[in-house]
């Protein structure tokens, strides 16, 4: 029961307290505060009385003296202003909704990650090198020309940018610093950190990502239901009349589509010929897209064999150019196929599209890595620097294409949509495609970290500029998404995509390089060894000889890290844990069904109101 301020104050007057306390309460229960606190308190326990309410308020003020609270608030607002792009994020989230916001949050997260990795790499690997030997070992004929920024070769080849310039000695100086070990451990630390971060994001509470995972996958899917669409999607923040009208029309259309789909499903099961037809169309599109992806991969391989000549610098730009062009054009074909196919739900449509794009990008990357590992590593000396340069070129050209993609994708669509073909309308911001591009860019950086320790710098610059370009393009050219976003679920999918094909792929490539490939003879921190990992072996052997007290570390190395039984054991433990959690989830699903039935049973017993 709502009580007005006046009644509350009258109630306070009747309380058996002395005048001073009443005055204090009266001061406390001033205008806005009373109503606000009262509403919360009443909402949480409907049977509360004014006396208890006053008591609660008094307690609050006694426990937290005003000074500390003010201090806390000012700290919090200071921290908020320090956070990068906080205001921009709010602006974007308010205007375009949470699904577009997830893209920008993802971009910011990747940027922070790259800054951290840059600091690690720079601190442990590059700075010792620069301290030890700060003049790059440039032969006389080579000088800095502008082309290096694009190709990464030439002058850059001899700087600390690439693997080749790092020394393999133990640097003397104030402290003895083993460059080999430092390089190896820095790379491993970087990979382990990424593993931990991704796992934490996907794993159970307290992470909020995992809570959304639980909510969206374990419980029933709400988004296709009419109830959700009717009651939970209206955006109260819109104040523009045209936008309101548009939203109403969209809601109409969506409700109608829902109705017709469910009716169709109920009324008529699809005839056999129609099912076969749909199946045939799906099969055809999948075959076509997979063959396109493999075709691209193979053509890249042949292009590489034809054009890999490190002397001709301009020619080396051909392959990255073709790769980026393929990444830009082929997804358009995939969207075209998607339009012809019929999917039972919008979600499946998006998943299919995302899967095909991922397949394309992974196959191109796989072919390139294969070429680097099997051909370049064998034929050329100082091959790691060359691979580093190839990756550098890929990153730079990819960046240029991302900017061009914004220009053509969004700006031109806007111009065409508004002036020439009004039927198309203003474009929407395609979150899925943009996030996939980000993931691809980050995969390149992960593969490249071993061969070019300063690649995170380029990545940081790239993401920083990309943020502003995308933001401006979004605000100028795009309209808010018409379909209500399923942001929480998409966030989980993006992190999963980031982790599984992308990170694990990069990790396996780097691991393969470190374990099996022979490092080049003339350059790099691992020259002269059989494989990079033997640096560790040598160090352990060293430890055994020189420091007698470290038998335990040698023992750990011999029996734990090098033995297969240990890894078998760990895999077994992980599999058993996953099985246990899966069984728990299944049990809980059953429990939910039973509890629902109980609610129905109990409500029958409730008195009719």
């Amino acid at each position: 029961v709502a009580m007005s301020t006046r009644e509350q104050i009258r109630a306070v007057r009747d309380l058996p307290m002395n005048f001073e306390e009443k005055k204090r309460i009266r001061w406390v229960l001033t205008l806005g505060q009373l109503r606000i606190i009262r509403t919360i308190v009443m909402c949480q326990s409907p049977t509360i009385t004014p006396k208890i309410c006053c008591g609660a308020v008094l307690q609050q003020r006694e426990l937290f003296p005003q000074f500390f609270r003010r201090f806390g608030y000012s700290l919090r607002s200071a921290r908020q202003t320090l956070q990068l792009w906080q205001g921009t994020m709010k602006e974007i989230g308010g205007k375009f909704g949470t699904s577009v916001l997830t893209y920008f949050l993802f971009l910011k997260w990747l940027l922070m990650f790259n800054i951290l990795s840059f600091l690690i790499n720079f601190g442990f690997v590059t700075i010792p090198l620069l301290v030890y030997d700060h003049t790059p070992d440039v032969p006389a004929a080579v000088s800095f020309r502008g082309l290096e920024i694009l190709t990464g070769a030439g002058y850059f080849n001899y700087t600390a940018m690439y693997y080749g310039s790092y020394s393999n000695e133990t640097l003397a100086g104030p402290v003895e610093y083993n460059m080999q070990l430092a390089y190896f451990f820095t790379i491993s630390l970087y990979m382990v950190k990424m593993l931990v971060v991704c796992f934490c994001s996907l794993c159970p509470s307290p992470c909020s990502m995992a809570k959304s995972f639980k909510k969206n996958y374990v419980l029933a899917d709400p988004a296709s239901s009419s109830a959700w669409q009717l009651l939970c999607t209206w955006d109260f923040t819109i104040t523009n009349e045209r936008a309101v009208r548009q939203r109403k029309n969209n809601l109409c259309v969506q409700l109608k589509v829902n109705e017709s789909l469910s009716e169709k499903a109920q009324r008529e099961m699809l005839t056999l010929s129609e099912k076969l037809r749909h199946f045939g169309i799906h099969l055809g599109s999948w075959l076509l897209s997979t063959s396109l992806a493999f075709g691209c991969g193979i053509s890249i391989y042949y292009l590489y064999t034809a054009s890999w000549s490190p002397q001709q610098e301009a020619e080396t730009l051909l392959v990255p150019f073709v790769v980026s062009l393929m990444n830009l054009v082929i997804p358009l074909f995939y969207s075209l196929f998607n339009k012809f196919e019929i999917y039972s739900s919008h979600r499946k449509q998006i998943y299919a599209l995302v899967l095909r794009n991922v397949l394309l990008k992974m196959s191109i990357l796989a072919v390139m890595c294969y070429y680097w590992m099997n051909v370049v590593a064998v034929k050329f000396s100082c091959w790691e620097s060359m691979v580093g340069q190839a990756l550098y070129r890929l990153v730079i050209i990819d960046f240029l294409f991302l900017m061009l993609g914004s220009l053509f994708g969004e700006f031109l669509s806007n111009v065409i949509g508004t002036k020439y073909l009004p039927r198309l309308g203003v474009p929407e911001f395609d979150v899925a495609r943009n996030v996939l591009e980000l993931i691809y860019a980050q995969t390149l950086a992960w593969i490249g970290i071993y061969f070019s320790p300063l690649l995170p710098v380029i990545q940081i610059l790239k993401f920083f500029i990309l943020f502003y370009v995308k933001k401006v393009s979004l605000i100028q050219n795009c309209q808010p998404p018409r379909r209500s976003g399923r942001a929480a679920q998409m966030k989980t999918i993006f992190i999963a995509l980031l982790f599984f094909p992308s990170f694990l792929g990069a990790l396996s490539i780097v691991a393969y390089t470190a374990w099996s490939l022979t490092p080049s003879e003339q350059c790099g921190p691992f020259r002269g060894l059989n494989n990079s990992f033997s640096a560790i072996g040598d160090w352990i052997a060293d430890l055994e000889e020189k420091t007698p007290g470290s038998e335990w570390s040698v023992w750990i190395y011999e029996n734990v890290i090098k033995s297969e039984v240990f890894y078998f054991f760990i895999s077994l433990v992980v599999i058993i844990t996953i099985y246990i959690f899966w069984q728990v989830t299944e049990g809980r699903k059953l429990l939910i069904v039973q509890l629902r039935q109980q609610i129905v049973n109990v409500s029958v017993l409730k008195p009719i109101q």
Partner: protein
């Protein structure tokens, strides 16, 4: 509109309230004068005038249930519709907004009225009826043919973004709820 977060005190909201009808609202509120602004003035605020639920919002937050708001009601409204209001509070008020006949349940007629406000007669009567039946089917957990607060909150739990949509931007800047408490 800036990128800074500007905090608003009850004072600024009070001036906003007063601007709606300067001749009715006195500057001096120490005697708690009994001033109610009629619904027409509230409904004409730029933040609310295009919102299809503006009348329901005004009715829910007003003391007399007709949409005529005192300053207290006005402050309440903007505090609940702000960013910092707790989830339960928002869900409770969202439920009340959708409950047109104020019987603490969202029944079929409430749903029909909600649908009509949201689609502006874009659906035929048959379609409206079918959608409402489907909604009750999907969301009604205790099978009594209407949605109680618990059913509604259960649905909200699975759609956490909705509570972020349930806020009104005052003058294109956010109203920080907690600062209000502290301002006193």
């Amino acid at each position: 509109m800036g990128n800074k977060q500007t905090t608003f005190t009850a004072q600024q909201l009070f001036y906003r309230y007063r601007d709606l009808a300067p001749q009715l609202v006195p500057l001096d509120y120490t005697n708690h004068p009994d001033v109610k602004l009629p619904y027409e003035l509230i409904g004409s605020m730029p933040e609310l005038k295009d919102n299809p639920f503006r009348q329901r919002i005004a009715e829910v937050f007003s003391e007399d249930g007709q949409g005529n708001m005192t300053l207290d009601d006005f402050l309440d409204m903007f505090s609940v519709l702000s960013e910092m209001a707790p989830r339960d509070l928002k869900a409770y008020y969202a439920f009340k907004i959708y409950d047109f006949n104020n019987d603490d349940f969202i029944c079929k007629s409430d749903l029909e009225k909600t649908l009509n406000k949201l689609t502006r007669n874009g659906l035929t009567e048959d379609e409206v009826r079918m959608v409402c039946e489907k909604v009750i089917d999907e969301a009604d957990l205790d099978n009594d043919g209407r949605l109680s607060l618990d059913d509604f909150q259960h649905m909200i739990v699975r759609a956490p973004e909705f509570l972020r949509l349930l806020y009104v931007i005052l003058l294109n800047q956010k109203y920080i709820y907690l600062q209000i408490v502290d301002a006193f």
